[in-house]
Symmetry: C2
Subunit: 496 residues, 2 copies
Amino acid sequence: MAKVKKTPRPKAETPKGFRDYFGAEVTGRADMLRKIAGVYHRYGFDALESSAVETVEALGKFLPDVDRPNEGVFAWQEEDDGKWLALRYDLTAPLARVYAQHRNDLPTPYRRYAMGPVWRNEKPGPGRFRQFYQCDADTVGTASPAADAEICAMLADCLEEVGIPRGDYIVRINNRKVLNGVLETMGVSDEGQAADVLRTIDKFDKVGEAGVRELLGKGRLDASGAYIDGVGLNDAQAEPVIAFLTSKGAGNTETLANLRGAVGESAIGVEGVDELEQIAALLEAQGYGPDRIVIDPSVVRGLGYYTGPVFEAELTFEITDEKGRPRQFGSVAGGGRYDDLVKRFTGQAVPATGVSIGVDRLLAALHAKGRVESEAHGPVVVTVMDRERMAEYQAMVGELRREGIRAEVYLGNPKNFGNQLKYADKRQSPVAVIEGAEEKERGVVQIKDLILGAQIAQNATLEEWKDRPSQYEVPRDQMVAKIRDILSEHGLSEAL
Amino acid sequence: MAKVKKTPRPKAETPKGFRDYFGAEVTGRADMLRKIAGVYHRYGFDALESSAVETVEALGKFLPDVDRPNEGVFAWQEEDDGKWLALRYDLTAPLARVYAQHRNDLPTPYRRYAMGPVWRNEKPGPGRFRQFYQCDADTVGTASPAADAEICAMLADCLEEVGIPRGDYIVRINNRKVLNGVLETMGVSDEGQAADVLRTIDKFDKVGEAGVRELLGKGRLDASGAYIDGVGLNDAQAEPVIAFLTSKGAGNTETLANLRGAVGESAIGVEGVDELEQIAALLEAQGYGPDRIVIDPSVVRGLGYYTGPVFEAELTFEITDEKGRPRQFGSVAGGGRYDDLVKRFTGQAVPATGVSIGVDRLLAALHAKGRVESEAHGPVVVTVMDRERMAEYQAMVGELRREGIRAEVYLGNPKNFGNQLKYADKRQSPVAVIEGAEEKERGVVQIKDLILGAQIAQNATLEEWKDRPSQYEVPRDQMVAKIRDILSEHGLSEAL
């Protein structure tokens, strides 16, 4: 007989570059987002949730590549009108669209925060996913440096709120206008050459001062042996860039003086230094000294993208990387001023400034420092000894839940009691409750402290084992109280 | 001179069927989700967040239509391997994929909750959007009716937790197996005819008992004058369906007796009635009486989709619709048992049961009943009277925030003071603070109670106006205390 060809079973797998998040991974992130939202809210920022889907036209950035409108984004064409739609790749492009669309109803300035997933159609790599969370706050409609200062102060507050203590982070501020002033002083007016200088500055972190000098001049042999062509400036021309990058002094006052030297007579440069001075003064007056927020001209990330002040938050403590080497944790948030946000839509320039916190990196940092509960505990498990008395077991978890204690009845096949305890183990339950026919008759329940049980099984000598029982028999009406005691002994909050 | 043709400006608009959510719309939903998650968690359910994007293959439902894999979903093709990806259309299909993929690492039974947006590629209509929230809880891996009972109890708890008081909601339970038993008794074994009967039953809500009788028989002239063909059963054959649909008695005991009559000797039917009996007994033992959760065979929604018990939560209070007519609010949640969830992937049947709460409908219900703060207040606004003293104004909001009071400095152009008050008005600020040079010299600040001011402006006579000033002068060091007083007078929590 011929076999009927069946449709093959679908594969149970996420698409490449996507992943699932379980239990504490989800609630840990939700907690962090809630704390950050609380700070944003207290600063007067309003929540905004735009849709995940935008027209490719509104997202904009990818339009030049007309043949492949889905370059970098996930995009598809509407069936009825042929319009291209796409998943948002960040939260800033949608903000521009929202502000342009609703500007008559929104207050000016408009302070808004947004948090949620964004999508990038990129080649996934280890630890690099095509869906990840962003958590942004932006102020649209004011050019005042007070808005930039406020964003920086709020960023520092957010880091402390989620558990990064003062001293373990630093917010660094730089200004694109200062760099523009430096370029002006150098006599670099050609846009191509200016872009070359920017690209070189971006390598400062990697190649250092000497490397930047070479790259601004004739060029440089890189580590791989390849020769990198230089920008072709002479030494004197290159000097102001070096002065700019290395102008960080012992304090903001000294740094600002050095920057004034670097920009010389350039009007835009002087404006940039003035802005930094105002920001630093506002922050210091509110108690955000340079131990938390500092002017640092070596911050180059984002200088190409932003139009004014740029900010970056770094965690300064060391962690051990996967090869066991100590390294600084690095950047967890960045932002700055970008003034052409809304212009694409309305033709009118609207000044804006904002910050984006990398929630997943920040969570990773807290995990690395052991500052979040990595060992998540499951619920109290009430075992089923007698299938007919399911209602009574349900009543037990009801009592526990009413007292705020997370609890559940075992709902698998109760025949094999070992399986029930294995289940409690897999759930990382702190406590199991047992009430068989014999206990029922005597009006008691057995309460197993599973955390202590595991500790004893691992470490205890026979003597200790005898001295420290991990199972207690208590009258039925003392069940909740005893479980509460056990949980608090282990430092577990009732809600687990 | 020839004009250079410019690219037209992009339109600032959401794609058709999508919308933006602002301020209290976002935080109100987040609060509700947090409360529901709290109940789910207390019941031992674990959070799961799967990616928004799945392979079309894994989503499954749409596969038969091979030529247009994006029927009903938003789908696109990967560039490198040609695979079709799509946005999830619910949270159940991803759960099936996750369970099949991770089943060796997950506990059995696996209780999980999930909340987030889902997407439907459908024609949008008024109030119908192509992105909306779902909030699900499911138990995978147990066939026990105790799992169904638990879901129903949890659903009732969730409704009360978000502010629907007892008496304003009812959870109704029915069972697909009972209907299957009825069909067996009727001698309907042909699948096509069974499907016809199911479709007819689905119209019970609309056409009532008499209508269903006609539709099961020869057919029926509908309201529009069109003749609807009937299923073609004779009166005797149709009787058990009618008995099933109308078997609701004064209490669960009577209903169950009626159902036993309707299913006769059918084994599957008896099994279904037994399950309902167990569920009712478990719930009543825990105090969930028929005033909250009741067996109701007239619940027909979902009977075609689910394989065992089905649940539906309805709000029973009346609201006024857009035409001013009173109507019942209706369904806000539904669910049931579906046992073929994971089989598509693994070939093994895995029993599962769950519920989905329609968060947006539930929010609408709370709004309709005035049970959520519809008038959201903005932050306290500190006005800027003297641009040079920005740092001092920033210090004021700093003090307020440290006391948990939401506050901001006006960051627009401060020249026109009227604009500052207009801004505070647009922000729905409860309080504005004013400190000009003269106040500064005398060590005081002016505090405007904007809520009282608006009330007076609307209602007060001249006498009252004189008696009830809405602006106070207080010493600078009493600013926070005075603002706290004003907020509490208006019943506003400090966090606003």
